[in-house]
């Protein structure tokens, strides 16, 4: 099975659990698909639209309203940048900006080579370590713009 047929089969199974048309079950369906597959692909949204009889523009509109939904698969290194209050006070914005510059990637996206993705999240409960980022679930404490450079370089080297 190719990646896409696998994904669509998973999608069909989820849709089967939510019979009926209309918007009511839209969010739960999108959440399940994302949980299952990591992101919302175009094909998945088209399938949801057919099932619920909703235009894709509407589904896309709803999905982009919530920060939780992704429209690209996450990268090999999925970097979450905390923008909660504690991290903000200690400079998380500049961390994010440096990260974006270092990888040449805007938050919410995945790099073309599939290596990195950046996501902005609310407080991840590690305020003592602020400003904090998490890479594939592993926390990096008190990151500074200089540390960002090193972390990214290490990951790149790791990959090679």
């Amino acid at each position: 099975m190719t990646e896409q047929t696998k994904e669509l089969a998973g999608c069909a199974a989820i849709l089967e659990k939510h019979p009926g048309e209309g918007r009511d079950s839209l969010i739960p369906i999108l959440q399940e698909i994302q949980e299952n597959h990591g992101y919302l692909s175009e094909a998945a949204i088209v399938a949801v639209g057919k099932h619920l009889k909703l235009p894709t523009s509407k589904i896309y509109g709803v999905a982009t309203f919530y920060n939780q939904f992704r429209f690209q698969p996450v990268g090999k290194y999925h970097i979450q940048v905390c923008r909660g209050t504690a991290c903000h006070v200690l400079g998380s914005l500049s961390v994010l900006e440096h990260l974006e510059k270092e990888i040449k990637l805007k938050k919410g996206n995945t790099s073309k080579d599939g290596l990195f993705s950046i996501e902005v999240v609310a407080c991840i409960g590690a305020c003592g370590l602020a400003p904090v980022i998490s890479i594939n679930g592993e926390f990096h404490a008190k990151v500074s713009p200089e540390r960002i450079k090193k972390i990214v370089n290490d990951l790149r080297r790791n990959h090679e």
């Binding site: 949204i45 057919k50 235009p55 523009s57 509109g61």
Partner: protein
């Protein structure tokens, strides 16, 4: 019921909003997101008023009028609130009114001027949204969008297409197609209704001015223009004339002044469409062909069918639209007759419709790699061109259109309004089946001002059930009724725009439904007063068949006037 407005008592009716009551009494407050006949969304808060007993200002467009309520429409507080809203809208707006297509016709500009806003007090970060020029018809400039939502609502709640919607949130909110892809791969059917409701320059038609100028200035090119049935009426409004004024003569003169060499009338090929389409209908009925048959002259509808109902494509009449029949005749028949090469002709359509721009560039609309219609201008664009050339239409002498493709019956002219194709088709089908003319041409049922009209006729023992429908919201309801057997329609006229082409997306932008009614009445008036009221009586149509085409549905007709459509994959 009585309500008190600015210390005076006025009358309101049960079910009125405050805004309705104000308008009923010749008053008003500014609005932005409000759209007549649609449920108020209360999103922009431009229409706020002060209401006694309420701490917050209320939105006049959605707040119901109640007995004894006391409101102030222009108190200091209200004016200040409105001013702030406008200032916020302007805070991140690109400052390029001078270069904007809506300069002098922009509601935001007018509101700012009315509220005497002369300096930038609030500065916001400008966004860097890119133009979307992927569509052959519609250009979107999200940087100029003020998020009033009117385009989204007209697309969904009037047209039934939903190609665009709000996406993102907060200050990242933007009107988008699905996946932020270009309009060209969206479900947009190019009707342009969103342009006509947009208060700013965020939506516009795709312009072809440059190519037209080049062609006009090229001595080797013969530049031929055709104008659609409704243009001679609607363009009047662009020049300050009353809605419904027919200016065909001076429009012809203006077109020649601009430099068009030959002026033809798409109403002539509307007559031709009727000849072919009525023959096709009778053929289908008598030979067990695919029914119901749908008209195919609205390119918005054709695209909708291709993407949303490919199963209905065999039901679409194979006739091209009048624009494309004319295009094919100009570079075929006319070129031959004049002894010029088709590639030396530049063919321009003046259309009420942005979807006609899309239609003109379709692959089906070419012969030997040469496009039949090279460029399309909307009514609005023709008005711009006339102004650009400094032509004063008020001082021109009327001129006639050119023959052999410029004389019409009034049946062809009726194509400009929803129901017109049907009335014209009935006149000719009746004649073909009975050999006699109808005693009364006018079919009142078809002229009703509703989204759907159905009726059955008995012609020479043949029962004919017909339906006329506009917008896809209503079309979907009709299709359901056909499936359930509730509707027995065999011949269905479909137009995308609510009242047909007189309310097309390329027409002058009028906020008043009254103007659209006047446009329609003008077409009926022309019909009442015409000597030739049926397509088959048009002497130039008869001559064209005698000299060139032979028979309706004949071999030449098939080559030039008919086509087939294919399923289209878009993001529905």
């Amino acid at each position: 019921m009585n309500i008190e407005v600015n210390n005076k008592i006025i009358q309101a009716q049960e079910g009125d909003t405050i805004l309705d009551a104000l308008k009923r009494n010749g008053m008003s407050v500014p609005t932005l997101c409000h759209m007549k006949d649609l449920f108020p969304s209360g999103a922009c808060r431009m229409c706020v008023v002060e209401m006694e007993g309420s701490r917050n200002l209320v939105t006049a467009c959605s707040y119901p009028a109640t007995e004894g309520m006391k409101i102030k429409t222009h108190s200091d507080r209200v004016i200040h609130a409105r001013k702030t809203i406008i200032e916020l809208l302007l805070s991140n707006h690109p400052d390029d009114c001078l270069y904007c297509i809506r300069n002098n016709h922009c509601e935001l500009q007018t509101l700012a001027a009315k509220h005497n806003i002369t300096e930038r007090r609030i500065s916001g970060k400008k966004n860097d949204y890119k133009l979307d020029i992927s569509s052959a018809s519609i250009v979107r400039d999200p940087a100029k969008c003020i998020l009033c939502g009117r385009c989204v609502r007209v697309c969904e709640e009037v047209e039934g297409v939903s190609a665009i919607d709000f996406s993102g949130r907060g200050n990242k909110t933007v009107i988008e197609t699905a996946f932020r892809k270009g309009m060209n791969v969206s479900s947009c059917i190019n009707c342009g209704q969103c342009i006509t409701v947009c208060p700013t320059g965020a939506l516009d038609e795709f312009a072809h001015f440059k190519e037209i100028h080049t062609a006009i200035n090229d001595p080797k090119k013969r530049v031929v223009v055709q104008h659609a049935p409704s243009i001679s009426i609607t363009i009047a409004e662009e020049f300050g004339l009353a809605a419904g004024t027919n200016v065909i003569g001076v429009m012809n003169a203006a077109l020649r002044k601009i430099g068009f060499d030959v002026v033809f009338d798409s109403s002539f090929t509307a007559d031709l469409t009727i000849m072919e389409e009525s023959a096709e209908l009778i053929h289908r009925i008598q030979n067990g062909g695919v029914l119901p048959m749908f008209t195919s002259c609205c390119p918005g509808w054709v695209k909708y069918a291709e993407q949303a109902h490919p199963e209905l494509l065999p039901n679409l009449s194979s006739c091209k639209s009048p624009q494309q029949m004319m295009g094919a005749l100009i570079k075929g028949f006319y070129a031959e007759k004049e002894g010029i090469k088709p590639e030396d002709i530049y063919s321009v359509g003046i259309m009420p419709c942005t979807a006609k721009k899309f239609e003109a560039q379709r692959e089906e609309m070419t012969h030997n790699g040469i496009t039949d219609v090279d460029a399309v201008l909307t009514t609005r664009e023709l008005a711009k061109l006339i102004r650009l050339y400094g032509i004063d239409i008020h001082s021109l002498q009327p001129e006639l259109t050119d023959n052999p493709l410029g004389t019409r019956s009034s049946a062809g002219k009726l194509f400009g309004a929803s129901g017109g194709v049907m009335e014209a088709a009935i006149r000719t089908a009746y004649f073909k089946l009975t050999g006699e003319e109808m005693i009364e041409y006018k079919v009142e049922t078809i002229r009703q001002d509703k989204l759907r009209r159905e009726m059955s006729l008995n012609v020479a023992g043949l029962d004919l059930n017909v339906a006329v429908v506009t917008t896809f919201l209503e079309l979907e309801r009709l299709l359901k009724d056909i499936k359930s057997g509730k509707s027995k329609a065999q011949f269905i006229e479909v137009m995308a725009c609510p009242q047909g082409c007189i309310s097309g997306g390329g027409q002058p932008i009028v906020p008043s439904p009254e103007a659209i009614k006047q446009r329609r009445m003008a077409l009926y008036d022309i019909d009442d007063k015409s000597a030739i009221r049926a397509s088959h009586q048009n002497p130039f149509i008869i001559q064209l068949y005698n000299e060139y085409l032979g028979e309706p549905l004949g071999e030449k007709s098939h080559h030039y006037l008919h086509t087939h459509y294919h399923e289209r994959d878009v993001l529905l």
